[in-house]
């Protein structure tokens, strides 16, 4: 089976400390990859490199067997990235925030916006400015994008921070469903992910340099 995302000999150094060296792995469709490692082991850095935000690395990244740099647009259309900062504007309402994402990303579909907000438990908050919502609710606004996107590859950096237990269980079920339908997920989390079906783990500690 052709791998969706292929990483070959990735090397990254930060502040004269080698975060990882000779890191190679594949992500296939229908695979959930959990990146684990202690704090400061470079999980976020790895996800930022994979998503294309950071270019401070050596090595090769392939998207559908072709170098990622040659098909940036196709890759960007297929990607949903969820970063440390939720990317939610405090002065806008949840609905306005999500509509804006639909406007800038072709893989986002605003037809199921109301349904997505209901799924993340924000029904009734459509018209409340996000700065008066809690931290967890703000992250839920951003997570609602998961219910609205057609993108096959999800890169999620600590998606469950500040989310309550039930919310985490629902998101895990969503990840499992996405993977079952042939999508791929790369995520970092300190949760167990017991309800997400089969998981591949990548431990960054094993690739740590000196």
């Amino acid at each position: 089976m052709e791998s969706l995302l292929k990483v070959v000999d990735l090397f990254c150094e930060r502040d004269e400390r080698i975060l990882f060296d000779k890191l190679s792995f594949d992500v296939n469709s229908g695979q959930l990859l959990q990146v684990v490692g202690p704090n400061g082991s470079g999980k976020t850095t790895l996800l930022r490199i994979l998503s294309g935000l950071s270019s401070y690395y050596e090595g090769d990244l392939f998207w559908k067997s072709k170098p990622i740099a040659d098909q940036r647009e196709d890759f960007a259309t297929s990607l949903l990235y969820f970063g440390h900062q939720p990317g939610v504007k405090g002065a806008l309402t949840p609905e306005e925030n999500l509509r804006w994402y639909c406007a800038i990303h072709p893989a986002m579909d605003d037809r199921n916006l109301a349904q997505a907000l209901e799924k993340v438990g924000l029904a009734g908050y459509e018209d409340v400015p996000c700065h008066s919502l809690s931290a967890g609710q703000n992250r839920r606004v951003s997570l609602a994008r998961l219910y609205m996107t057609h993108a096959p590859l999800w890169i999620l950096d600590e998606p469950f921070t500040a989310i309550d237990k039930q919310g985490v269980a629902e998101k895990e079920a969503l990840l499992a469903q996405h993977v079952e339908q042939g999508g791929s997920v790369i995520l970092t989390t300190h949760h167990d992910l017991s309800n997400s079906g089969p998981i591949t783990r990548l431990n960054l500690e094993e690739y740590m340099g000196t």
Partner: protein, 235 residues
């Protein structure tokens, strides 16, 4: 797999431009202090100047073009830091960079939004300041037209500096250093237009040069702004 990857709505550049502009305008209207700060600064400088130097009408009418232009330039400079700052801090900028849309269009829309909330109000307010500084009535049209063209150029050039410094904790001073040398030609020609207009000399030539600077800015600045923003975010 195939059904997951259908581009349901191909986002056209105009829709994208409109969406970004609309959102930025909405944000500045909900956050009124950003909207009012440059205007208050503009009015304050112009008001304090006669008090500090000389209230003589003859003297004031002579320096009015320069004072109004310098005040407008500094007011624009002050408002620049916030252009990308909040987007950078809440992660929206990352999302914009990762979207398959051309970053240039997004940046240009943001600059237009910035101009509509700073440069345009400054221009509309300027006749009042001109009147206060005894600028001759013949100079008013020159003042309006030069500010209308000039402030947009200032926003475009300033956004390059804002993009370069957005990754730094305190970029305010650095923006001024990066951007001020590039502002000087706009200032010289801008106040030149107003002076010429006040003296009743034709000023079309000055305006044409300002227009050329604006055209050049519209074409080249978005490229530089998007590159600057990309560098800042990847750092």
């Amino acid at each position: 797999m195939a059904n997951m990857h259908t581009n349901t709505a191909e986002v056209s550049l105009f829709t994208l431009f409109g969406a970004v502009l609309k959102r930025d305008l909405l944000l500045s209207f909900r956050n009124k202090s950003d909207l009012v700060n440059p205007l208050i600064f503009f009015v304050m400088v112009a008001t304090l100047f006669p008090l500090g130097v000389s209230p003589q009408p003859n003297f004031l009418s002579e320096v009015a073009p320069g004072v109004v232009w310098v005040a407008a330039l500094l007011a624009t400079l002050l408002s620049l830091d916030s252009l990308f700052r909040s987007d950078y801090e809440d992660g929206t900028l990352e999302q914009v960079i990762l979207s398959p849309q051309p970053l240039m269009v997004v940046c240009f829309a943001k600059v237009v939004g910035h101009w509509m909330t700073t440069g345009l109000p400054l221009t509309l307010l300027s006749p009042l300041i001109g009147l206060m500084l005894f600028l001759p009535a013949e100079g008013m049209f020159g003042l309006l037209s030069s500010l209308l063209i000039g402030t947009f150029t200032l926003s475009l050039v300033g956004a390059i500096g804002a993009g370069l410094t957005v990754g730094l904790k305190r970029g305010g001073v650095l923006i001024s250093l990066v951007v001020l040398p590039l502002y000087i030609p706009v200032l010289i020609f801008g106040s030149g237009v107003v002076e010429a207009a006040a003296m009743g000399i034709p000023y079309d030539g000055f305006l044409a040069i300002m227009g050329a600077m604006l055209a050049l800015g519209c074409v080249l600045a978005p490229v530089a702004i998007s590159a600057a923003v990309k560098i800042s975010v990847s750092g």
